[in-house]
């Protein structure tokens, strides 16, 4: 796309986009003005309303504080311009001056990172002198300086800091197309429009992740997707998935990539038209299968149409269709599914098999997770446990009996510091059972712990089949002596449908009563995804008001949920 087309499309999108502004600040010591429209456009087509402001040229330290309330800050801190003519002068510096420069830069980095320690995301381009040193075999002083500074950054234990390896962007675009020295000499504009476009594409998954837009589930067909050949026709012995032959080698590689995703907490499932027992036999006993039963969270292997199966699987794991990626080799299946389920992302196994692994690599970052937590890594275990729960369901005639049989235990935490990372993550990821959809960073949650006015309630849930982990949150803000406000009330999709929200809310009210709170106010902030909690406040017993709803604690009647055991810590 041409730059002028991007500018014009960006302007149109700015006028029509619904979501609230996602404020991004760019601190820079080179001219990056063309980045503004390019990055905004890249985010707006993904429905993130990115609004980019530039700090003043070469005022990185001074302008950091301007952005201390932003949603994200990007550092375009070029080594080429850290001092006048750095890109040729650093080579000539005596050791003492070189060391002084290093120390100065390190203390500036400290100031900037400290000023911005509360914001959710800092994208820091790693220092590189590649545009000027890619000609040379040996490492230059300026390369050495970059290495030292990057090592310093890597050792910083700041959770909101994400280092961006821009050399990967150069590798993709080529130095020649990334850097326009004419513009650098005239305007100190080092980077080309093409570079900004590829840089924006490279970091896009980060923004998708922090605004809850990253994909969560990957559904795979089997025949000619996981293995070469058709199981029903070729038989278990002749399907190919091993590097013993060139076709099998491709399928072995993509299975390894899918397994990598499963290990990172992506929900991997099968959606195949086959006899279930045939596929199970392959999963259990084929010695070349890399993807195993234990990697799969869910399967629909039958002769029904795939759109129904996919809808069914997605409902079962309680996510949105727009969080799903589906891979199949058949145009027919993909078109059918895409036609019926417009929100899902589909990928077709290329006819040229050698391009298949690349296609997957190109799309793996759709699942990028900005802040991996233990919950992510153990998610597969949780979904397997969920499979077991579903298998147990048919034995019980009624819901109540079934829920009782689960042996649910709810553990409530108040202002729990050790869960700060997970608490922040759950505000960023939860879209459906979320009353107000307020997104908070770890620093903001820490702030709430320190502030007497705030109480952060969270819960962990387990049952006879396993542990769901920390899956619910409510943030209460005391407004004055006896009034409080329900700032946040959310639960992870995995624990919906068990009336846990009632047990949680009952306990919160108990605790608030002990603190002499007489009235709790709250409102439902409607979004496209949270229709599920439209009536939540009403169900809790709030009285509807003009702008906000009220609950008088003395009049609160807790809903009976005796099949859930509650532990308060």
């Amino acid at each position: 796309m041409k730059y002028s087309e991007i500018v014009s499309s960006n302007r149109e999108l700015a006028n029509t986009i619904q979501s609230s502004s996602y404020k991004i600040g760019v601190l820079n010591n080179v001219t990056v003005s063309n980045l503004v429209d390019i990055l905004e456009y890249t985010l707006r087509i993904e429905k993130i309303n990115g609004v980019v402001s530039l700090g003043n040229y070469d005022n990185i330290v001074q302008d950091a504080s301007l952005f201390s309330n932003n949603d994200a800050v990007i550092m375009f801190w070029e080594i080429a311009n850290v001092m006048p003519g750095a890109y040729y002068n650093i080579e000539l510096l005596p050791d003492s001056a070189y060391n002084a420069l290093y120390k100065k830069l390190v203390s500036e980095i400290d100031i900037v990172l400290d000023t911005l320690k509360e914001i959710p995301v800092i994208l820091f381009n790693k220092f590189t002198a590649l545009p000027f040193t890619h000609y040379f075999i040996n490492e230059n002083k300026i390369d050495r300086l970059c290495t030292q500074l990057n090592e310093y950054l890597e050792e910083k234990n700041q959770t909101n800091l994400k280092l961006v390896n821009t050399e990967k962007v150069f590798a993709k675009v080529s130095i020649e197309q990334s850097i326009d020295l004419r513009n650098f000499y005239l305007f100190k504009a080092l980077h080309s429009n093409r570079y900004f476009i590829e840089w924006s594409n490279f970091v896009r998954p980060i923004f998708m992740s922090v605004s809850g837009h990253s994909k969560k589930a990957l559904y795979l067909d089997c025949d000619n997707t996981l293995w070469g050949g058709v199981l029903g026709e070729d038989g278990i012995d002749d399907i190919k998935m091993s590097s013993r032959d060139s076709t099998g080698a491709i399928f072995e590689e993509v299975q390894a990539l899918y397994k990598e995703l499963a290990n990172k907490g992506v929900i991997v499932g099968l959606c195949s038209k086959n006899n279930e027992t045939d596929v199970d036999q392959v999963l259990d006993s084929h010695e070349d299968m890399i993807l195993k039963e234990s990697d799969l969270a869910i399967k629909r292997v039958n002769w029904e149409n795939k759109a129904d199966n996919i809808k069914d699987m997605t409902d079962a794991i309680n996510i949105g269709l727009d969080s799903v990626v589906f891979v199949d080799d058949s145009d027919f299946e993909l078109n059918f599914v895409k036609d019926k389920l417009k929100e899902i992302t589909t990928l077709k196994v290329p006819r040229q098999l050698f391009s298949y692994p690349t296609l997957i690599r190109e799309n793996m970052e759709l699942f990028y997770n900005f802040s991996m937590t233990e919950e992510d890594v153990s998610k597969i275990t949780m979904y397997r446990e969920q499979k077991k729960r579903e298998q147990a369901k048919p034995e019980f005639g009624d819901m109540e009996g079934y829920l009782k049989s689960l042996g649910l235990v709810l553990t409530i935490h108040v202002d729990s510091r050790k869960h700060v990372k997970r608490i922040a993550q759950i505000t960023q990821k939860t879209n459906q059972f979320n009353l107000t959809t307020k997104r908070y960073s770890e620093a903001e949650i820490e702030q709430f712990f320190c502030d007497e006015k705030y109480k952060v309630f969270s819960f962990s849930l387990e049952d006879n089949f396993g542990n769901y982990g920390l899956t619910g949150l409510s943030i209460i803000r005391m407004s004055n002596e006896d009034k409080a406000e329900l700032d946040t009330f959310l639960m992870s999709c995995r624990v919906i449908g068990r009336n846990v929200e009632y047990a949680f809310f009952n306990t919160i009210i108990d605790i608030l009563k002990k603190e002499d709170v007489k009235e709790l106010t709250g409102s439902y902030l409607k979004t496209k995804k949270n229709g599920l909690v439209k009536n939540l406040l009403n169900n809790f017993g709030f009285e509807k008001g003009d702008e906000i709803d009220h609950l008088i604690l003395d009049r609160f009647i807790p809903k009976k949920v005796d099949f859930i055991k509650v532990d308060s810590l």
């Binding site: 041409k2 730059y3 001219t31 003005s33 063309n34 004419r182 305007f187 429009n193």
Partner: protein, 75 residues
């Protein structure tokens, strides 16, 4: 060609197309500063598939001059 130039200038400088005439220059237009100048130069180069010399960049400070420069480079 003049229409295309006006379109690019209008888009990049956020100026109404009718205001782009003989008198339109960095002097007459507040939002035409050094930062928007480089955006404009790059956009014109991309649009016409041309490459401006350093002198051209320095001189491209009015609609009139831009037309003359683009004309020279595209013929």
């Amino acid at each position: 060609m003049q229409d295309k130039i006006k379109k690019v200038i209008s888009l990049i400088l956020e100026a109404p197309i009718d205001s782009i005439n003989e008198n339109f220059s960095t002097e007459s237009t507040e939002q035409w500063d050094s930062l928007t100048h480089i955006k404009l130069v790059l956009a014109l180069e991309e649009e016409f598939d041309i490459r401006l010399e350093e002198d051209d960049i320095v001189n491209a400070i009015s609609y009139k001059n831009i037309v003359s420069i683009v004309d020279t480079l595209t013929s």
